[in-house]
């Protein structure tokens, strides 16, 4: 089968690739780009372990063809931490025990990033809803929700502090 040329920006880096049409975005990331942080939990869109941000929106990368993402912008877990510094969500996950086996963690972190960007002050219910596509079998979700909640509240305090600074 004929390969298709495509480009893809992943974590800020632009890639030019030739791929077979049936290659999933998930397999492209894991096998062609060696970005193995995104996991294959079911390959059917049922578990969320393969969650990436496609133009900022959380999606199951196992249900997207690589060619469908031509010209688009992808964020994977490897692109979350800054230079030598963890993202506040990653720090919070560590602080709150939100990580046990860690297999769902990359997908959950990305779903949480999208949530806080769209809803900076989510209720616990909204956090639960945002995570509804990410199955976790180890934690029971509570500490994950605590971690996201803590980051949201800290960001709210920070921003109101910043507002106070404005003369």
């Amino acid at each position: 089968m004929m390969r298709k040329d495509m480009t893809l920006t992943v974590n800020g880096s632009r890639h030019a690739l030739a791929v077979e049409p049936h290659l999933s975005l998930l397999d492209l990331l894991r096998e062609k780009l060696d970005l193995t942080g995104t996991k294959k939990g079911c390959n059917a869109g049922d578990c969320g372990a393969c969650t990436v941000l496609l133009n900022g929106a959380p999606v199951n990368s196992c249900l997207i063809l690589a060619v469908q993402a031509d010209g688009q912008d992808i964020t994977t877990i490897e692109g979350v931490a800054g230079e030598g510094e963890l993202h506040p969500l990653q720090e919070a996950f560590i602080d709150h025990g939100a990580v046990q086996c860690g297999y769902c963690t990359p997908g959950v972190v990305l779903s949480a990033i999208a949530l806080l960007r769209d809803t900076p002050q989510p209720t616990r219910s909204q956090i639960q809803e945002a995570l509804s596509g990410n199955l976790c079998r180890c934690t029971g979700y509570f500490q994950i929700i605590d971690a996201i909640d803590a980051v949201a509240r800290r960001q709210s305090e920070d921003s109101s502090r910043n507002l106070e600074k404005i003369p």
Binding site: G37, G41, I94, G102, C138, Y141, Q143
Partner: protein, 753 residues
């Protein structure tokens, strides 16, 4: 005990950073030069005779390195825990026993090519009628899943004390019920996977997600006749186990692929294969009978367990034994007769899953206790209080020893955390129900003279720069054992966590530690590390004493220094002492070997209370858990953040088991082969409130008083939900799992009657 600086604190996990950044390499993330890909051809039928396998088409496909059938295998082609009767590949002329039996294997250059070749293997079967229930398998004339197992009995356990028949004659009330529990799937997010290769020296290296590197090495040796000293098994960070990766899963197949194809091989099961393949929670039928006096004293208990073992023995004898003994729970009952049978069928395989038989028993026990309470018109908690074990009591089972009975404390705490029962809204179809249940979870304390449980070793190395490495053979499943052993070492040496490295789950590098199961590793490895570090402390103190010209007993480890007690400025850096010790030929690597001191087969035990307030809408069958409370006696929490994580995770698994999880099989085939059909709780399914609390009654021989807790967290939450629903409805829901349909059906049946 003096102030602890790291033990008892919620310090960060040693593996958290790798996991939150996506850098941790799990089994399927590994990449080796020249790596090929394996694919297993599984049986198309639960039970069929293999007439012919034609691999010619598959062998001639591009990129196919090797096609393997039973004929190609060296060794016995048999392995397995319990009885070594599991085939690697079913041979022509033999019968398959379940849909997870393998008939052929492919090694190819890519996963796609391997899958393609697998589909091209042509297999002719004589399809035979599978045994689909224990009752069917027990009938006279039923075919034998294993020739040597008469009546398809895999195992049988019995226990009796007192005189049960007399006991039942002297009671005022008898209640009896049969409980049928569903098949629960571990549903770990990471499927079975691994890589294997043979090196130039002929050593086979297997890196895979597993819970017992030593058992895996044993099975590879048994099945493929590879000398044990040439097998190296390394457990990778596991993406969830819960017992489903306790038995050898794909590692023997993977080893065969690597050895026969003579290339490094990666094998990864897809989700449907995984759901079919590994052993799950035993579905059981428990018939339980209780006899009590009018005052609520239970005089007699009679129980029978029939467990669906599936095709192979595996862990069944142990699970079935524990299901039977857990029927007693934390209660003192003078006259007991219990019996449990594990029966082979051609259904999916059954084996280890967090709780190991105790969750099933808890359902029967705690639900029947509530039924007894209703019959006696007695408050269910009062009924239990009448019968609880008292301080100083030893439980009836000879398998259990001394353990402080903390039930009264648990009761106080659970009532305090529950608060008053909420009132149902006026003029509504909503009803409130409450239940409080109890359990007596067990954990391994190194007193079982059985392969893989009898001793736990660990090694600790102090490096010349003051860094420390702990070599611990248990596997990190997510439960946090790597962090716990690091904490113990850090505490012992007065070092920060950053200075401790952990090397886990390596059958060559780590002293034998046995299996990651039975909630045993904190206990066993913790004690082994304490022993190893105790010897190292002596060595380092002796060296420091010489350097400081003081007596060793005046020195202590504090803040990365070895210094005079109460005078931290008078001392030396830990690193400095380590360097000198190393330079002067001191031994800075010690091993600890923990073994229970008794001569009796024994488990440790602890106590747990679970409570729930639920709101049921009797018009629609909707059920909401308003509040869930779990109080567990943990002995000593070595890391509260991780310990609570076990409680939360276990409770939600228990909730799933009760409300939505059932791996249904029809004629031996799964009807729920994906995460879309086998449903585990999502983040939206949580109780409105969940309060978990640990109580700490130190266990005398536990490290810092710790008990094993990983499984305890799951056991009694499920019956708590069932009983709370029954309390709300005024009628029991007898079909599990319990969803809206089941609740409506129970209400409807009651209305119709």
């Amino acid at each position: 005990m003096s102030d602890l600086s790291i033990i008892g604190k919620g310090v960060h996990r040693v593996d958290a950073r790798g996991k939150v950044t996506g850098h941790t390499r799990y089994a399927s993330d590994m990449r080796l030069p020249g790596m090929h890909y394996g694919k297993i051809v599984f049986s198309s039928h639960p039970r069929a005779r293999l007439l012919e396998i034609d691999c010619r088409a598959a062998e001639s496909m591009p990129g196919v390195k090797k096609v393997i059938t039973a004929r190609d295998l060296p060794g016995s082609n048999r392995y397995g825990y319990g009885v070594a009767h599991r085939p690697v590949l079913v041979a022509v002329g033999e019968e398959t026993r379940y849909v997870g039996d393998a008939v052929a294997m492919i090694v190819a250059e890519s996963e796609e090519l391997a899958s393609l070749a697998a589909s091209a293997v042509v297999v002719r079967y004589e399809v035979l009628a599978p045994l689909t229930s224990p009752r069917e398998a027990m009938q006279a004339g039923a075919y034998r899943v294993h020739q040597e197992a008469e009546g398809n009995r895999c195992c049988q356990r019995e226990f009796a004390c007192g005189d049960v028949d007399a006991g039942f004659r002297n009671v005022d009330v008898v209640v009896e019920q049969t409980y049928v529990t569903p098949r629960q799937e571990q549903a770990f997010l990471e499927t079975e996977a691994g890589v294997a290769y043979e090196d130039d020296a002929g050593v086979l290296h297997v890196m895979s997600c597993l819970q017992d590197p030593y058992g895996v090495a044993e099975d590879i040796h048994l099945a493929l006749a590879i000398p044990k000293s040439l097998i190296h098994v390394k457990g990778t960070p596991v993406g969830g186990g819960f017992g489903g990766k306790l038995n050898t899963t794909i590692q023997v197949h993977l080893a065969a692929m690597a050895c026969l194809a003579k290339v490094p091989v990666m094998l990864e099961l897809d989700r449907e294969e995984s759901f079919d393949f590994h052993a799950k929670r035993h579905p059981v039928e428990i018939r339980l009978r209780l006899g009590a006096g009018r005052d609520g004293t239970i005089h007699a208990l009679d129980g029978e367990v029939i467990a669906d073992v599936g095709p192979y023995s595996g862990r069944s004898a142990e699970v079935v034994g524990l299901a039977m003994s857990a029927l007693l729970g934390p209660y003192r009952i003078a006259n007991v007769r219990t019996r449990a049978d594990g029966i082979y069928t051609n259904n999916l395989d059954s084996g280890a899953f967090r709780g190991f038989g105790a969750p099933q028993a808890a359902i029967a026990r705690e639900c029947l206790l509530d039924k007894l309470a209703r019959t006696l018109e007695m408050d269910p908690l009062q009924l239990r209080q009448k019968n609880f074990l008292r301080p100083g009591d030893r439980p009836a089972s000879p398998m259990l020893g001394e353990s402080p009975v903390s039930i009264e404390l648990l009761t106080q705490r659970v009532l305090a955390l529950l608060g008053p029962k909420p009132a149902a809204p006026e003029n509504s179809t909503k009803r409130i129900g409450r239940s409080i249940c109890f359990d007596m979870p067990v954990f391994d304390v190194g007193e079982i003279p059985v392969l893989g449980k009898a001793g736990v070793g660990a090694a600790v190395q102090v490096h010349s720069d003051g860094g420390v490495t702990v070599y611990a053979g248990g596997t990190e499943l997510g439960q946090g054992i790597a962090t716990v052993v690091a904490q113990v070492a850090a505490e012992q040496f007065g070092l920060p966590m950053e200075q401790i490295r952990v090397e886990m789950s390596d059958s060559w590098i780590c002293p034998r530690a046995g299996r990651t199961s039975a909630s045993r590793l904190t206990f066993g490895l913790g004690n082994a590390v304490l022993e190893a570090t105790a010897r190292l402390r002596e060595t380092l103190l002796a060296q420091a004493a010489k350097l400081l010209e003081v007596a060793a007993e005046h020195l202590t480890f504090e803040d990365s220094r070895i210094c005079l007690v109460g005078q931290p400025q008078k001392g030396l850096a830990f690193a400095e002492v380590a360097e000198v010790c190393s330079d002067r030929g001191g031994n800075l690597r010690e091993e600890g070997w923990f073994r229970g001191t008794g001569d009796r087969y024994m488990y440790g035990h602890t106590f747990m209370a679970a409570a729930a307030d639920v709101e049921v809408d009797i018009a629609t069958g909707e059920m909401q858990i308003l509040k869930l409370v779990n109080v567990l006696d943990m002995g000593k929490m070595l890391n509260p953040v991780m310990a609570y994580g076990q409680l939360y995770g276990g409770a939600i698994q228990a909730m799933g088991y009760g409300l939505m999880e059932n791996m249904v099989t029809v004629d031996g085939r799964s009807k729920t082969p994906s995460f879309a059909q086998y449903m585990i709780p999502t983040a939206m399914d949580l109780p409105l409130q969940f309060v978990a609390e640990a109580v700490e009654t130190p266990y005398p021989t536990g490290p810092f008083g710790a008990k094993g807790i990983g499984e305890a967290a799951l056991n009694c939450t499920t019956p708590t939900l069932f009983n709370a629903i029954a309390d709300a409805l005024g009628v029991e829901v007898t079909e599990m799992p319990v969803g809206q349909e089941q609740i409506l059906a129970a209400i409807h049946k009651q209305d119709v009657q």
